[in-house]
């Protein structure tokens, strides 16, 4: 597959990243080479092989429903660039979540 400028712009928008227009051609080329590199895997014949969702052997890992201590609120907020009223203060995002 060939990566287009639109693919890069969409990816940047989804990641909320701002990149100057002048840097886009470089990104298109780099994205393209990464995808091509990974595409080499597609050459392997996988007929009859179950899709794998996880690499490890771990299964059925659970914890009991038992309370463990939470962080004190001031510690939780400790790395935040901005806080107000015990809350993280962040720039407003207009689009609504799911």
């Amino acid at each position: 597959m060939n990566i287009s400028k639109e693919d890069v712009v969409k990816t940047l928008r989804l990641a909320r990243l701002e990149v100057p227009e002048s840097e886009l051609p470089d990104l298109v080329r780099e994205f393209d080479s990464i995808v091509k590199y990974v595409e080499a895997v597609a050459a392997v014949d996988l007929r009859g092989v179950e899709p794998l969702s996880h690499g490890g052997d771990a299964r059925d890992v659970f914890r009991d429903d038992v309370v463990t201590p939470s962080l004190p609120a001031d510690v939780a907020l400790g790395n935040a660039p901005d806080t107000a009223g015990g809350c993280f203060r962040v720039p407003r995002v207009i689009a609504e979540p799911s």
Partner: protein, 481 residues
Amino acid sequence: MSTTLERWEPVIGLEVHVQLGTATKMFCGCRNLFGAPPNALTCPVCLGLPGALPVPNRRAAELAIRFGLAVGGTIAEVTRFDRKQYFYPDLPKGYQISQDKGPIVTGGTVTTSFFGDGKTIRLIRAHLEEDAGKGQHEESGGSTLVDLNRCGIPLLEIVSAPDLRSAEDAWAYLNELRLTLRTLDISECDMEKGSLRCDVNVSIRPRGTTPFGDRVELKNLNSFRGVERAIRHEIERQAALLEAGGKVELETRLWDDEKGESRLMRKKESAPDYRYFPDPDLPPFAVGRAWVDRVAAEAPELPLKRLERYTSVYGLSDYDAKVLITDPSICRYFEETTALCNDPKNAANWITSELFGLMKGGVSIDDVKVRPTHIAELVALVKDGTLNVRSAREVLAKQYEDPRPAKEWVEKLGLVQVSDRDALVAIVKKGMEMNPKAVADLKAGKEKAAGAIVGYAMKETKGRGNPAILNEILAELLKTF
């Protein structure tokens, strides 16, 4: 001119999110609690700090399985978690852990036995996920304040098939679903506290046709009645659009219950691209037969089973049984009372007619000072003849304000029933002398006439006469009078 509903058939499906009633969050040991000070219930996992690893809560999975069994759905043999990615400040990881491909429950049905006309609504799926935090837009300054206490609370998302055909259907379905979830202790389902949230998909099609119309998703629904109002409004909106030659757009709209109208939130073209993929931090898990059996064995009784037991074993009327069952806290209160007095019929009576009569203005039975022990004691005191019903009622009214034991109130108010035969004989005799017409009527077979004489005796005993003994004496005296 025909009505909108005569021309158009609505097709409605609901997506309901409920917070599971666990002690801790879905993937960390932080408390699952509403109303704590902001950001008091967080840890590296639910803050989404780099390197923190989620471990699923077994109890949350069990409650999901319990739900699946209750609705007759299929429990996945192997299920897994996926990442649903979107950018929003209440979601610190940048993705929500959810289940896309392999939901823990598929299928199942909900039947509106208690709140509707017995219609069966199919479920598509129910899956586990984690809740997001809460953001509040600042009034000035254009910032958002984020509280992550809610972030990571386990959710079950329950998706119905588009089987609902009216706003009333949707209301009945929601109530029925909540009854099941509350009776089974899966979720509190309190919309005000956000432990139940609901989105609605609505489309309409000309009556008598089968293809689905384009659907609109409604969000921001804050009460079951609000859901009903929003659906009614949306049906009218779509019908007006189509009848004016326009078309319904695939879009998401926000309902404003105060204004009674909806506004556009986003068009389909700007629908988010969630880029689901299996969460590499969370291995798949198998739900073996043994686990399912264990969950089934410890699950509380379903509402319909309970109805059957109350009517056939307890001998309650269908109506009384439903009054008790449709509110799980009342039901619990009734069960406790019955366990103490071993008299379900009288327990039900005292609760639904006498106690309810005292509870005013939406008081919850959990906040009432009169407890099951009080009701059970009154039932016993009436049964053993210490109190007549009228006096017991008086005691209950006093206890409602001051819940001291019935025996104390009985003594204080001098309410012990007068069962002393000689004293009562004298009073009944006097009553007969004062009411010759009633006596004549009684002799002529008009049994109602006894009321005048028994009433007199009750007045004389200040309401404490034992009515059974009074009637007995009257019958006896009549033979010789």
